[in-house]
């Protein structure tokens, strides 16, 4: 049950290439689970930007003088994120959340590897807390093109049993991508579940490596969204259901977290011919 809140900017700080925005968000923390996202209005009154922007919940705090706060981590990509990066203390931003389906947590005390590319690590710290509270082992693998695009290295170091890092330019950790270092980690820690958040290509590869290793995978996807609440059908991708049938499902309400093995990664951006309701081919 999401809520709509007028959040006040408490702080906005840089973290490498990213910005960390803290908003008052009374009522939100109690409802939020790791992997949930929020949709923020951007542009202010009379803006030409109609649509909310989606961000993973990085952190929520329910205590304190503000009766609840929300942290999101974002990269400036276009107009809306540029506007967000220009906010000041006391500015008001409209929040809708928590939205989507969060990560599934294991019932048993299993070994979990959390893999993130770039700001994909934003939701991983809440997730790590929840997993550790259940007695799971948590190892973290972070990757980015370069050091300043890693987010949360110190926090990850503190909370993870081990932290392994890959950067494409080798500025920190191994030179390469997370998927160059993940298989070794999976083996080393005898991973049962892999949690991943990052670009589609990474999620596809992580799913494959998890499968090869025999681990479950939970992937948080990032599809362009218009409504964020399930009413517009913008954010779909092809997902296989329990009976083996492929459907175009809405990542804003049935995701953003999916079982990796259920997403037809290679077909994202297309309508697979065997999907429910796919156009019937005419001709020979």
């Amino acid at each position: 049950m999401p809520v709509q809140i007028r959040g006040e900017v408490l702080s906005l700080r840089r973290a490498g290439s990213y910005h960390v925005l803290t908003l008052t968000a009374p009522g939100l923390p109690e409802l939020t689970r790791p992997g949930h996202f929020v949709a923020l209005s951007v542009g202010g009154d009379n803006t030409g930007m109609l649509l909310r922007r989606a961000f993973s919940v990085h952190r929520v705090q329910s205590r304190g003088v503000y009766g609840g706060t929300l942290d999101v981590v974002f990269a400036v990509l276009g107009k809306g994120t540029a506007w967000l990066a220009d906010r000041h203390r006391h500015d008001v931003i409209d929040i809708v959340g928590p939205l989507g389906r969060p990560f599934s947590l294991p019932r048993e005390q299993v070994s979990c590897v959390l893999v993130a590319g770039g700001y994909g690590s934003a939701p991983m710290f809440m997730l790590a807390d929840a997993l550790r509270a259940r007695g799971c082992r948590v190892d973290v693998v972070l990757g980015a093109s370069t050091e300043d695009k890693l987010f949360g290295v110190l926090d990850a170091k503190r909370m993870a049993a081990t932290l392994t890092i890959a950067t494409e330019d080798g500025s920190v950790g191994e030179r390469g991508r997370v998927t160059d270092i993940l298989p070794a980690v999976l083996k080393r820690v005898e991973a049962d579940v892999v949690y991943a958040c990052g670009p589609m290509g990474m999620l596809a590869a992580v799913t494959k490596q998890a499968e090869e290793h025999g681990a479950h995978s939970q992937c948080a996807v990032e599809e362009s969204m218009a409504c964020g609440v399930g009413v517009c059908m913008t954010c779909v991708l092809p997902v296989i259901d329990d009976s083996g049938v492929t459907r175009m499902v809405r990542s804003c309400v049935e995701g953003p977290v999916f079982r990796g093995d259920r997403v037809r990664w290679d077909d994202v951006g297309t309508i697979p011919a065997d999907c429910v309701g796919a156009p019937v081919m005419s001709g020979h």
Partner: protein, 292 residues
Amino acid sequence: MTRAVIGHGPLPKEVRDLPEVDMRTSLASSALPNPVLTASGCAASGRELDQFFDVSSLGAIVTKSIMVNARSGRATPRMAETPAGMLNSIGLQGPGIDTFLDKDLAWLRERGARAVVSIAGGSVDEYTRLAQRLRHVPDLTAIEVNISCPNVEDRGLVFACDPYAASSVIAAVTRNSAPGIPIFAKLSPDVTDIVSIAKACIDAGADGLSMINTLLGMVINPDTMRPALAGVTGGLSGPAIRPIAVRAVYQVHAAFPEVPILGMGGIRTGIDALEFVLAGASAVSVGTAIFN
């Protein structure tokens, strides 16, 4: 517009500025407690919005246009934001009429919400079958006929762009629907003379008109240098198109002052809704603003 509609979630924050008066209105023969409806395709079948506010307090939910069979829609990306607007190319993804009636409409009825069912087809025959399928469904507030669909039997020409094609669809639907249920023809603004299309629909038996559907638009992504939408073109909606919608409502109302109009296109606030009422609409639908 009615206080109940606002402030609880992703719905027009400012659709509230109309005076607190008796807001009852009607869509042809159907009475509505208030004149604010959702626009087809912008509220699914109401269930998701019910988390944010009581959907039974709306004038009605206009459901996503439904076709006979399940349909996967178009490839993604399906959306691009534009100045004060957006393009969509959803491609009428939906479960097909049977599942819709069993699940979605059943939920709306149980919930006590009024439903205007929007239907879409690729041929006159498909519209006919949809009308027949709805014939014995009780308690429909109205049927909205989305004729902004390509006619697969006539080189993909959009029904709403030709008076004869539009009239064939509307005649088939009125002929096959339960007597007494208001049939609203939903018009496209992408025509040279919307009044002549309106006339064709009215002559074919439409009880009212919904206007406007989206305008055909396109965005090219400067980074990829390719169309932003997988479907290349898409439908433009949002406040950007409001002046066109108000003009269309005004023109058609001037020509057919007796015909009820469900006005839409870029409505965000009560003031915007009032503009449509002043132009001649009996009620309004809110679409893109729901996403805001």
